[in-house]
Amino acid sequence: MGFVLFVSLVLVGCNDEKTIEVNEMNETDASEVKGIIENYKDIYGGRAIFVDDQLLVAVQSKPWLDYRKTKLEKKLKNELEERFPNYDVTVSADFKLYFEAEKLLDEEDEEKVAKKVEKLKKLKEEET
């Protein structure tokens, strides 16, 4: 019984599906962000929020790559900044931002989203 549970948990943990979600502002931008994140093998989930001139990208990398997170963030940020020079890009591999981004995907009120993104950016800067 325990063994079956263990095996099924391991198998569930190993599925290689990638989920990348973007809140739709315009199609080309959305698909472009999706394409960029798709290129990263180590990322298994990504959520991108476009609001005003802000672009918030929250990703989740495989757990054993935790120590490389900052490097991954930097690389992704540089690439996104090149493609979207008009946007203020924020990239984070933190679970908090990934979790909060899910709520923002379906939020209709743009003002609320902008406020929340601003708050998340501040949270990201905190060290202790």
Partner: protein, 151 residues
Amino acid sequence: MDQQKYQEIEQQITPPTPYLKNVAKAFLVGGIICTIGHAITYFYIIFFDFTETTVGNPTAATVILIAMLLTGLGLYRKIGQFGGAGSAVPVSGFSNAVVSAAIEHRTEGYVLGVGGNMFKLAGSVILFGVASAFVVSLMKLILVTMGVIEW
């Protein structure tokens, strides 16, 4: 009976230490404690404004509080008997060391008893923790100055 002979007899009589069993128990107990800690981590991330970088402090505080209560109720001793190092290495073991020393010496008064003995065992943890943190950060500073890694 000379000393050598005594030792031979002693070796024969002493039951062998079940190393593998002890390691497995420690792994299990330590793993369960850390899983609970991780659950607390996600609780703070989801319901409060903590990120993965900042969540460490409240999580450690909560685990310490839980272990403190368990020590006071006499339950942590049982966990320690079963799990050995698995219950001593996580931060809950540190909390247990502080609180159990305080309880043990409370009859000797608050200043010389509780105050003087509280950090009997935990004091060395703090001392070597601070000392090794100093060495590690010094090494990191040197590596950053040389340009090998970044902060």
